[in-house]
Amino acid sequence: MTSLDSANQKPHAWLARQSRWSPLEIAFWLATLLPFYFFPTYLTLASQIAITALFAISVDLILGYAGIVTLGHAMFFGLGAYAAGLLSVYGWGEPISGLLFAAAIAGLAGWLASFVIVRVQHLALIMITLGLGFLTYELANAMTWLTGGTDGLRGIRTWPIFNYFRFDLWGYTAYSYSLAALFLGFLLSRRIVNSSFGLALRGVRENVRRMPAIGSDYRRHLQKIYVISAAIAGTAGGLLAQTTNVVALDALGFQRSADVVVMLILGGTGRLYGAIVGAVIFLVARDQLAGINPQYWYFWIGLLLMFVVLVMPKGILGGLASLAARWRGRG
């Protein structure tokens, strides 16, 4: 009987291991504090990276886990940015409630869009997300009275966090704030992917045809994750508005939607950390390459993208993981 019990414990232990914090993860999050001490002049960039990483995580939840390919997710990022920005312009600059407002507006838009999104697949799905993105962009462009149009939304004033921490010129507060938001968003996402819901999403990604045959209303799962993802993307947009005090139209633009997918492919989809690593690589590369030649830096991104897709089809983290597995197998 004892031997049977211990045999039964093995799968339990395996499941528990899938969601356990590894030392590498803890080291990674400690490393996010390094810019405070070693790169104090780069805190503004670090803040941009944290915001973009949060955005990339929101896309990974639908693209990497649920298999919903999107080229229009900047729509929710931009809606969040305008929501938080407008709230401040019209007199309420408290940052945390502003972020919640941004998340709610983007989540609501995500909920409306989800009814269409879960009914289409493949190329049609990409085109629908692209179309929704264009619609939102041109609406914001046309509604100059509200959004400021091509001039951008100005006059945002963000109050100190907890009425105490002012946003300083160097970006100490901005990076702390963005990093905290990224970490919370990451914790939420990590919880989701390690839950039965996360398993159901992977089921949809792996074989959508089988899902009804095991009794799953999988479209409701997809709607749910789409709303969550839109709300997180909106939070990231709200962060950008609050930390830079301006919202430009490109917050909603196609370029941002495409860039975030490139980051995910670079870092590796379906593993959350791939989103963060992809954002770091993309934005650091842009910062460095634009310093050398501000016009042609996408050339190098294109080269890097092709290299990764050909050599490491599961992204940089996926490639490292399989290298590590091979090394362990040999050792």
Binding site: P11, S19, R191, N194, F197, R210, I214
Partner: protein, 251 residues
């Protein structure tokens, strides 16, 4: 005869001018082990698709335990206890069998949408998942990715996924398709040992297996039921010999 769990009444389906289901009326009693046989293109898989809701019938009704389910979506039918397996593996390649079966149980228990609760904390569900895998001899493969499993084990996982939905009626579409003969006998031993309250209808081409495991045989030809009878009657029926076994009759 015990009461029918699943009943189809004059089920009809045309694909253009092709009649794939001609007024099919069947009744599966509780705990039955029925075989569905017939030459290729007879409409056996189409019938399963009709019953489980993958395709909609042009006419006729389907009732499960007296309830009309003709218009119910496929997933709803599964939750009522009407489950199928697929002739071609329809699995989750990157999930482990443990995860796949656990997912099916989570859907059955309506907890699959709980995103705030860690999977590892669903102890009872994981226990049940392990028990199902052990029953099908997949205990040792539980934590390996499905795509790395040998084909025979993937066929067993097809059945494990179906069992996880706790079916009242189980429709098996060629469960042993592509499996070597010695292994397929093992697979049907598993099917034969399923609980008595599950009604099973299986499609199978191997006549030895059909005559060994089926208590009743339904013979389909070009979209219609030619004959439904016990194995001995089917074996002796001249029409069956002609259209299915061939005139030489090697049954």
């Amino acid at each position: 005869m015990s009461e029918a769990v699943l009943r189809t009444q004059a089920l009809r389906k045309n694909f253009g001018s092709l009649e794939v289901a001609r007024d099919i009326s069947l009744a599966l009693p509780r705990g039955c082990r029925h075989a569905l046989i017939g030459p290729n293109g007879a409409g056996k898989t189409t019938l399963i698709n009709l019953i489980t809701g993958q395709i909609k019938p042009d006419a006729g009704t389907i009732t499960l335990e007296g309830e009309d389910i003709t218009a119910a979506p496929a997933a709803a039918r599964v939750r009522k206890g009407l489950t199928r397996t697929f002739q071609i593996n329809t699995l989750f390649p990157d999930l482990t069998p443990l995860e796949a079966v656990t997912l099916a149980i989570c859907e059955r228990e309506r907890v699959a949408a709980q995103f705030w609760r860690g999977l590892a904390s669903q102890g009872a569900i994981v226990d049940e998942s392990i028990a199902i895998l052990e029953r099908l001899g997949l205990g040792n493969a539980a934590t390996r990715a499905t795509r790395t499993l040998p084909y025979g084990q993937q066929r067993l996982l097809e059945i494990a996924l179906a069992l996880a939905t706790r079916p009242k009626v189980l429709l098996l579409d060629e469960p042993a398709a592509g499996v070597p003969k010695d292994e397929s006998a093992m697979l049907f031993d598993v099917i034969a040992s399923l609980p008595d309250d599950i009604s099973v209808l299986f499609i199978e081409h191997d006549m030895d297996i059909v005559f060994r495991f089926a208590t009743q045989i339904i013979v389909m030809v070009s979209g219609g039921v030619l004959l439904e009878a016990d194995p001995q009657t089917v074996r002796d029926d001249p029409r069956v010999r002609e259209v299915y076994l061939g005139s030489s009759g090697h049954g």
